[in-house]
Symmetry: C2
Subunit: 253 residues, 2 copies
Amino acid sequence: MTIRAVVFDAYGTLYDVQSVAGVIEAAFPGHGDYITQVWRLKQLEYSWLRSLMDRYEDFLAVTRDSLNYTLGTLGLAADAALFGRIVEAYNTVSPYPDAAAALEALKPNHRLAILSNGSPAMLDALVRNSGLDRYLDAVISVDARKAYKPDRRAYEPVEHRLGCRPEEVAFVSSNGFDIAGARSFGFKVIRIERVTPAALRADLTGGAPIGPGTLSRALRTQSERLGFDPHAVVNALSALPEAVGRLDSAAQA
Amino acid sequence: MTIRAVVFDAYGTLYDVQSVAGVIEAAFPGHGDYITQVWRLKQLEYSWLRSLMDRYEDFLAVTRDSLNYTLGTLGLAADAALFGRIVEAYNTVSPYPDAAAALEALKPNHRLAILSNGSPAMLDALVRNSGLDRYLDAVISVDARKAYKPDRRAYEPVEHRLGCRPEEVAFVSSNGFDIAGARSFGFKVIRIERVTPAALRADLTGGAPIGPGTLSRALRTQSERLGFDPHAVVNALSALPEAVGRLDSAAQA
């Protein structure tokens, strides 16, 4: 059995969602970090709650609702044009600097795809704006199944779209809920560890106030205790070709 | 159609989960607020993720796993005795001061119950330790259905246990995810608003650093944008008899 496809989470894994903070800070000076963090935390929460209630709305709706919630906590409002511009920022988030080179190195021997919570229109804009579309064989949205990660329905389209079985897929994510969901589903999973335990601990115990950015990292960047651990952990996308190679050798052994 | 039963969420609604902070601060001086908030946020997150993955473990396991995660972010460890004492604090959280009087006032005309994520053993200890057991006709755990709120399976046992249809139940919660889930399920829903928008806004914009407690309130205490709003909102349990009376009159009109 070999690894035939490498499938990537988008937001937070190939793309840095923190890059929306600039647009937000410009719109609401002094609130960029708070809005960015609460928006992202509520966006994920709403995706989970809607899946649990079986009340799916697409990720654009979830992204708008969570931004509305966040601005409401501050008593702020944005007119339609500004609100639209902030939501649009999700379609132009920056790829991590090593994303293109990692995809290029993997491409000769693997099918490459994104599997994301994003709506088809959001993902289409995202991969075109960033130029990563040239490396990808498929851009798969959970929208076809009307359920968000880590609901197992969200992972099912990969098999059909790429023509490989779950154990032939190396799934790459930096998001704990996604790592657990993908492992529980049956993929081989590689975790990108962007914040080491030591770095987080230094932030939490260094004596500075624990603000929204630090608390968000504390909630979202560490190994989860859910019993579905990744097969491999790397600290950057640039380490993927080697990690996929190791998984491949192990699978063939 | 009348309101025949009043069913309460436990943690955060009848009981103040923030009351564990004292035990934690005594165990880990300087970290009481941070651990209390991250523990509670991850506890809920793990309950949602496990339901989504269909990998149920009971709420005691989820409570232990989320505490382990939280201590891990600080590089802290607790020996088994201390760890057990902190987890046990969930079984002795304080009822809100107006809980007993509200239950007593409602009892003559309604069946009264708790419906909670807590495991049967946790809930049994909780209601006995607090003395609220004397008012309750049933203490119902989601454990029977192996799914956490707001999964609709979590709300199903009420009908059977209390012998009333969903529209005959006034469901009371301060938790946004639970309010949406109960409304989506078909209950009449009363929201307890413990932090007003104005109070939160003052905390967020008063110039003081936004710490874990404030961020947690920003994430968990405001009206959600999920499209499943409560039928009534009150600011304390003491206002429930009147609010239930109004729902009852409306139902009979």
